[in-house]
Protein backbone atom coordinates (compact mmCIF):
# COMPACT_ATOMS: atom_id res chain seq x y z
CA UNK A 1 0.00 0.00 0.00
CA UNK A 2 2.78 2.43 0.96
CA UNK A 3 4.68 1.45 -2.19
CA UNK A 4 1.59 2.28 -4.26
CA UNK A 5 1.34 5.71 -2.61
CA UNK A 6 4.97 6.42 -3.54
CA UNK A 7 4.42 5.06 -7.06
CA UNK A 8 1.52 7.50 -7.41
CA UNK A 9 3.22 10.60 -6.03
CA UNK A 10 6.95 10.36 -6.82
CA UNK A 11 6.30 10.82 -10.59
CA UNK A 12 4.83 14.25 -9.70
CA UNK A 13 8.35 15.25 -8.72
CA UNK A 14 9.70 14.82 -12.23
CA UNK A 15 6.51 15.84 -14.03
CA UNK A 16 6.43 19.25 -12.34
CA UNK A 17 10.19 19.64 -11.66
CA UNK A 18 9.40 20.06 -7.97
CA UNK A 19 12.81 19.94 -6.32
CA UNK A 20 11.25 18.64 -3.09
CA UNK A 21 13.80 15.83 -2.79
CA UNK A 22 16.67 18.27 -3.33
CA UNK A 23 15.86 19.95 0.00
CA UNK A 24 16.54 17.18 2.50
CA UNK A 25 16.85 19.49 5.52
CA UNK A 26 13.51 21.14 4.80
CA UNK A 27 11.92 17.71 4.29
CA UNK A 28 13.32 16.46 7.59
CA UNK A 29 11.92 19.54 9.34
CA UNK A 30 8.52 19.00 7.76
CA UNK A 31 8.29 15.27 8.37
CA UNK A 32 10.14 14.39 11.59
CA UNK A 33 8.44 16.59 14.24
CA UNK A 34 4.93 15.81 12.95
CA UNK A 35 5.84 12.12 12.68
CA UNK A 36 7.06 12.07 16.30
CA UNK A 37 3.78 13.58 17.51
CA UNK A 38 1.66 11.17 15.50
CA UNK A 39 3.77 8.13 16.41
CA UNK A 40 3.33 9.08 20.08
CA UNK A 41 -0.43 9.26 19.48
CA UNK A 42 -0.34 5.92 17.66
CA UNK A 43 1.64 4.27 20.49
CA UNK A 44 -0.73 5.61 23.15
CA UNK A 45 -3.87 4.62 21.22
CA UNK A 46 -2.49 1.14 20.48
CA UNK A 47 -1.48 0.69 24.12
CA UNK A 48 -4.96 1.83 25.20
CA UNK A 49 -6.55 -0.70 22.85
CA UNK A 50 -8.25 1.92 20.68
CA UNK A 51 -6.96 0.09 17.62
CA UNK A 52 -4.67 -2.82 16.81
CA UNK A 53 -2.93 -4.38 13.83
CA UNK A 54 -3.78 -7.80 12.44
CA UNK A 55 -0.64 -9.92 13.06
CA UNK A 56 -1.49 -12.09 10.03
CA UNK A 57 -1.36 -9.11 7.62
CA UNK A 58 1.57 -7.10 9.00
CA UNK A 59 5.27 -7.77 9.43
CA UNK A 60 5.93 -9.75 12.57
CA UNK A 61 8.77 -7.39 13.47
CA UNK A 62 7.46 -4.86 16.01
CA UNK A 63 8.97 -1.80 17.61
CA UNK A 64 7.25 -0.72 20.84
CA UNK A 65 4.25 -2.78 19.81
CA UNK A 66 3.76 -1.24 16.35
CA UNK A 67 4.52 -3.07 13.10
CA UNK A 68 7.54 -1.58 11.33
CA UNK A 69 5.47 -0.47 8.34
CA UNK A 70 3.43 1.75 10.65
CA UNK A 71 6.54 3.90 11.20
CA UNK A 72 7.11 4.03 7.43
CA UNK A 73 3.52 5.28 7.13
CA UNK A 74 4.44 8.48 8.99
CA UNK A 75 7.21 9.22 6.49
CA UNK A 76 5.45 8.17 3.29
CA UNK A 77 2.07 9.87 3.87
CA UNK A 78 3.48 13.34 4.74
CA UNK A 79 5.90 13.06 1.80
CA UNK A 80 3.01 12.21 -0.53
CA UNK A 81 1.04 15.14 0.91
CA UNK A 82 3.92 17.57 0.39
CA UNK A 83 4.50 16.36 -3.19
CA UNK A 84 0.78 16.81 -3.92
CA UNK A 85 0.80 20.28 -2.34
CA UNK A 86 3.85 21.37 -4.35
CA UNK A 87 2.41 19.97 -7.60
CA UNK A 88 -0.83 21.90 -7.00
CA UNK A 89 1.22 25.05 -6.28
CA UNK A 90 2.95 24.67 -9.66
CA UNK A 91 -0.29 24.00 -11.55
CA UNK A 92 -2.06 27.00 -9.99
CA UNK A 93 0.86 29.37 -10.66
CA UNK A 94 1.10 28.18 -14.27
CA UNK A 95 -2.58 28.90 -14.78
CA UNK A 96 -2.18 32.39 -13.37
CA UNK A 97 0.82 33.16 -15.58
CA UNK A 98 0.56 31.01 -18.71
Amino acid sequence: MLALVLAGTLPLHRRYSLGVLRQPLRLLLAIVPAALLFVAWDLAATAAGQWHFDPAQTFSARLWGLPLEEYAFFVVIPLAGILTFEAVTVVISRRRAP
Binding site: M1, L4, V5, G8, Q23, L25, R26, L27, L29, A30, I31, P33, A34, L37, F38, W41, A45, A48, G49, Q50, W51, H52, F53, D54, Q57, T58, F74, I77, P78, A80, G81, I82, T84, F85, A87, V88, T89, I92, S93
Partner: protein, 115 residues
Protein backbone atom coordinates in the same frame (compact mmCIF):
# COMPACT_ATOMS: atom_id res chain seq x y z
CA UNK B 1 -16.08 7.09 25.79
CA UNK B 2 -15.17 7.78 22.21
CA UNK B 3 -11.56 8.59 22.91
CA UNK B 4 -10.25 8.43 19.33
CA UNK B 5 -13.02 10.85 18.34
CA UNK B 6 -11.89 13.39 20.94
CA UNK B 7 -8.19 13.02 20.09
CA UNK B 8 -8.89 13.40 16.36
CA UNK B 9 -10.91 16.59 16.94
CA UNK B 10 -8.11 18.03 19.08
CA UNK B 11 -5.53 17.12 16.41
CA UNK B 12 -7.47 18.91 13.65
CA UNK B 13 -7.87 22.00 15.82
CA UNK B 14 -4.19 21.95 16.83
CA UNK B 15 -3.02 21.58 13.21
CA UNK B 16 -5.22 24.52 12.09
CA UNK B 17 -4.04 26.69 15.02
CA UNK B 18 -0.41 25.82 14.23
CA UNK B 19 -0.96 26.73 10.57
CA UNK B 20 -2.64 30.04 11.37
CA UNK B 21 -0.96 31.33 14.52
CA UNK B 22 2.25 29.43 15.28
CA UNK B 23 3.82 28.92 11.85
CA UNK B 24 1.72 31.71 10.29
CA UNK B 25 1.61 29.82 7.00
CA UNK B 26 -2.20 30.24 6.70
CA UNK B 27 -2.52 27.33 4.27
CA UNK B 28 -6.17 26.85 5.30
CA UNK B 29 -6.97 30.32 3.96
CA UNK B 30 -5.73 29.47 0.49
CA UNK B 31 -6.86 27.56 -2.58
CA UNK B 32 -3.65 25.54 -2.93
CA UNK B 33 -4.09 23.64 0.33
CA UNK B 34 -7.76 22.79 -0.25
CA UNK B 35 -7.10 21.62 -3.82
CA UNK B 36 -4.21 19.45 -2.63
CA UNK B 37 -6.27 18.16 0.28
CA UNK B 38 -9.11 17.21 -2.06
CA UNK B 39 -6.67 15.07 -4.05
CA UNK B 40 -5.16 13.58 -0.89
CA UNK B 41 -8.65 12.83 0.46
CA UNK B 42 -9.61 10.74 -2.59
CA UNK B 43 -6.48 8.64 -2.23
CA UNK B 44 -6.88 8.43 1.53
CA UNK B 45 -10.36 6.95 1.06
CA UNK B 46 -8.87 4.31 -1.27
CA UNK B 47 -5.82 3.39 0.83
CA UNK B 48 -7.59 3.70 4.18
CA UNK B 49 -10.46 1.65 2.80
CA UNK B 50 -7.99 -1.07 1.91
CA UNK B 51 -6.33 -1.05 5.35
CA UNK B 52 -9.58 -1.03 7.29
CA UNK B 53 -11.83 -3.03 4.94
CA UNK B 54 -9.41 -5.96 5.04
CA UNK B 55 -9.07 -5.64 8.79
CA UNK B 56 -5.34 -4.88 8.65
CA UNK B 57 -6.09 -2.19 11.22
CA UNK B 58 -9.01 -2.89 13.59
CA UNK B 59 -10.69 -0.44 15.92
CA UNK B 60 -12.27 -0.86 19.30
CA UNK B 61 -15.96 0.06 19.20
CA UNK B 62 -15.39 1.86 22.50
CA UNK B 63 -12.96 4.37 20.97
CA UNK B 64 -14.88 5.50 17.87
CA UNK B 65 -18.28 6.96 16.99
CA UNK B 66 -19.31 3.74 15.26
CA UNK B 67 -19.86 0.39 16.91
CA UNK B 68 -16.68 -1.23 15.59
CA UNK B 69 -18.46 -3.24 12.88
CA UNK B 70 -16.61 -3.10 9.55
CA UNK B 71 -19.16 -1.75 7.06
CA UNK B 72 -18.52 0.14 3.82
CA UNK B 73 -20.71 3.12 4.76
CA UNK B 74 -22.61 4.15 7.88
CA UNK B 75 -22.16 3.26 11.56
CA UNK B 76 -19.52 5.98 11.79
CA UNK B 77 -17.56 4.73 8.77
CA UNK B 78 -16.83 6.02 5.27
CA UNK B 79 -15.42 3.47 2.81
CA UNK B 80 -14.78 1.06 5.71
CA UNK B 81 -12.62 3.53 7.71
CA UNK B 82 -13.85 5.25 10.88
CA UNK B 83 -14.59 8.94 10.19
CA UNK B 84 -11.98 9.73 12.85
CA UNK B 85 -9.31 8.52 10.41
CA UNK B 86 -10.21 11.35 8.03
CA UNK B 87 -9.50 13.85 10.81
CA UNK B 88 -6.26 12.04 11.68
CA UNK B 89 -5.11 12.24 8.05
CA UNK B 90 -6.16 15.87 7.67
CA UNK B 91 -4.17 16.89 10.76
CA UNK B 92 -1.09 14.87 9.76
CA UNK B 93 -0.92 16.19 6.19
CA UNK B 94 -1.82 19.81 7.09
CA UNK B 95 0.83 19.95 9.82
CA UNK B 96 3.48 18.46 7.51
CA UNK B 97 2.64 20.84 4.66
CA UNK B 98 2.52 23.87 6.98
CA UNK B 99 5.95 23.07 8.44
CA UNK B 100 7.22 22.42 4.91
CA UNK B 101 6.11 25.88 3.75
CA UNK B 102 7.36 27.49 6.97
CA UNK B 103 10.77 25.82 6.63
CA UNK B 104 10.93 26.76 2.95
CA UNK B 105 10.80 30.43 3.83
CA UNK B 106 13.83 29.87 6.09
CA UNK B 107 16.07 27.33 4.37
CA UNK B 108 16.17 28.89 0.93
CA UNK B 109 15.52 32.23 -0.67
CA UNK B 110 12.51 31.37 -2.82
CA UNK B 111 9.23 32.93 -1.73
CA UNK B 112 6.57 31.14 0.29
CA UNK B 113 3.87 29.96 -2.13
CA UNK B 114 0.64 31.78 -1.53
CA UNK B 115 -2.63 29.94 -1.99
Amino acid sequence: MTSYTAAAAVAVLAAILADLFVLRTALVRGRTWWTAYGIVLVFQLITNGWLTGRGIVRYSGDAILGSGRIVILGDGRIVYAPVEDLAFGFALVLLSCAVWVWAGARTRSSPVPKG
